[in-house]
C-alpha cells in the first residue's frame, strides 16, 4: 500500500508542490520592489479583497461573538464567574477565533476568487501576453494580490473581533443581563495590548501570507483548462484550511 502510494507519486507530488510553492514565495518577494512601482494596483487589490470579504466577515463576527457569549455565560455561571464574560469573549476572539475564522472565511471568499482570476488569466493566455509585452506577471498580477492579502487580513480580523465583541455584548449584557460596567471594565483591565491583541495580529499576518500564497500559487500553476481552474479553486480552500489550522497550533505554541 505504502509502496503503491510512492509509486503513483502522491507523496512525491505533494512534496514537490510544497517545494514549488516555497520557491514561488521567494519569487514573489523578489518581485515586490518592482510591484511597488505600480502601487495603485496593490491599493486596488486591497480594496477589492477587503471589500469583497467585509460583509461575510462582519456577519460571521457578529454571530460568533453572540454564540461565544451564550456558551461562555452558561459555563461561567456554573462557577459563578459571569463577571468575566467580557474578558473571556474578548480573549477568545483576539487570541484565537478572530485570526483563525477570518483566515478560513478569507480563503473561501477572497482566496478562491484570486485563484480563479489568475487561473483564468493563465487559461486565456493573458499571463503569456504580459510576458510577451515584457511585463513580469509575478510583479504585475501576483505580488499586488499577495501584498493585498497580507495587508487586508489583519484589518479584516480586527473588524471581525470588533463585531464579535459587539455581538457578545448584545447577548451578554442586553439579553442575559450581565452588568454593562463589569463587562467592559473587566475586559479592558485584563486584555493586554502586546500579549493578546498584537499576538493575534501576528497570527493574522502569517495567515494572510499563507492563504494568499496558496491562492496565487494555485492560480498561477493551474492547468490551462476549465477543469484545471475548478480544481485549483477547490484546492485553495482545502489546503488553506489545513495549513491555517496547523500553523495556528504551531504559532500558539510559540506565542503563548
Amino acid at each position: 500500500m505504502n509502496a503503491r502510494f510512492l509509486r503513483d507519486g502522491y507523496v512525491t507530488d505533494a512534496l514537490a508542490q510544497i517545494g514549488a510553492a516555497g520557491l514561488f514565495f521567494f519569487t514573489i518577494l523578489g518581485a515586490v520592489p518592482k510591484s511597488l512601482r505600480h502601487f495603485r494596483e496593490t491599493v486596488r487589490q486591497i480594496w477589492f479583497v477587503g471589500a469583497m470579504s467585509l460583509v461575510i466577515i462582519m456577519t460571521c463576527g457578529l454571530f460568533v461573538g453572540m454564540v461565544l457569549a451564550l456558551q461562555l455565560y452558561h459555563t461561567l455561571s456554573i462557577f459563578g464567574g459571569t463577571a468575566a464574560l467580557g474578558t473571556v469573549v474578548a480573549l477568545s476572539l483576539f487570541r484565537e477565533l478572530g485570526p483563525v475564522v477570518t483566515a478560513l472565511l478569507f480563503a473561501g471568499r477572497a482566496g478562491t476568487s484570486i485563484t480563479a482570476e489568475i487561473g483564468l488569466m493563465r487559461a486565456t493566455d493573458q499571463l503569456a501576453a504580459m510576458e510577451m509585452m515584457a511585463v513580469d506577471p509575478v510583479a504585475y498580477v501576483v505580488a499586488p494580490r499577495f501584498l493585498a492579502g497580507v495587508i487586508a487580513m489583519p484589518i479584516l480580523a480586527c473588524v471581525f473581533n470588533a463585531l464579535g465583541i459587539f455581538g457578545g455584548h448584545l447577548v451578554g449584557v442586553t439579553w442575559l443581563g450581565v452588568d454593562n460596567g463589569t463587562f467592559w471594565g473587566n475586559m479592558t483591565a485584563n486584555v493586554e495590548v502586546w500579549a493578546d491583541v498584537i499576538n493575534g495580529v501576528w497570527k493574522s499576518l502569517a495567515f494572510g501570507a499563507v492563504v494568499t500564497l496558496i491562492a496565487v500559487f494555485q492560480g498561477y500553476t493551474t492547468p490551462p483548462t476549465s477543469e484545471g481552474v475548478a480544481y485549483a479553486t477547490t484546492r485553495t480552500v482545502v489546503f488553506s484550511s489545513i495549513v491555517v489550522l496547523a500553523l495556528d497550533f504551531v504559532l500558539t505554541a510559540f506565542l503563548m
Binding site: L120, M121, T124, D125, Q126, A128, A129, M130, E131, M132, M133, A134, V135, D136, Y140
Partner: protein
Amino acid sequence: MSRSAEPLVRVRGLSTRLGDKVIFDGLDLDIPRGSITAVMGPSGTGKTTLLKHITGQMRPDAGEVWVDGSNVPTLGRDALFALRERIGYLFQNSALLTDFDVFENVAFPLRQHARLPEELVRNIVLTKLQAVGLRGAARLMPSELSGGMARRVALARAIVFDPMLILYDEPFVGLDPIALNQVLKLIRTLNQTLGITSILVAHELSAVRRVADRVHLLANGKIVAAGAPDELARGESDWTKQFFGGEADGPVPFHYPAGDYAHDLGFDGSAA
C-alpha cells in the same frame, strides 16, 4: 557581412519534441530584415510553437534561434524582456487583458515601458485603433467585443510600440472582407513606412499572396518548401501541389499520427 544584410531572424538546427511527438527536426529558417514572411502548414505542425521559440516563450531541445544578434534560448530573463520590448506578438486567441477596456489594453505596453504624457499616449492609442477601425470601440470591455473585433484590438496592441519585428499568429481569422483588406493594408504599411519585419502564420493563401514576400511551408518538422507566394502556389513540388491543392493524400500529413484505423474500429477482431 554588414549588419543590415544579415537576416533579422536566423534559426539553425531547431529540434523540439512535445511529449512523444517530434515537432521540429533540425529546422532552418532565415527571415530577412524588412520582409514580410508567411509561414504556412497543416494544422498542428508547430507554427505557433515556432513563433514561441522565436520569442523565447518556449525553449527548444536543441538548435539556435538568433533574433537581431542574440541567441534567444540562451538569454536570461532581463535580456529576453529587453528583446521583447522590440517585438510585437499577436496571439492566436487575442489574449486581451479582461480587466481593462480596449483603450487601456492597447495603451498597456506604453504605460509599462515608457513614461509618456497622457496626451501622447492618447494620440498613439487612438491612431492605432483608427488603423484597425475600432477608435469608436475604445471604451468597450473585451467581453463586449466580437471575435474579429478582439483580433483587431490585439493587432493594435501588438503594433503600438512600432516594434522592429511583429509576429502575427493567424491575423486573418474571423475578419470580414472589409476588415481583412484593412488589416492587409496595415501590415503592408507598417512594413513599407517603418520597415518593420513581419512573420505571419496564416491559412488563407489568397490573403498571403497579397502581402507576403516569401512563404515557407512547414511540414514534418522542417521547412519543406520556400519561395515567393505565386511560385509556391503554382505547386511544382509534391509538397506544395498537395498542400495548396488541399488534398488529403500526399507527403504532407493531414492525419495526426495514429495507429491502424481498422484496428481502432475493431474490424480486425481485436476489440471484440
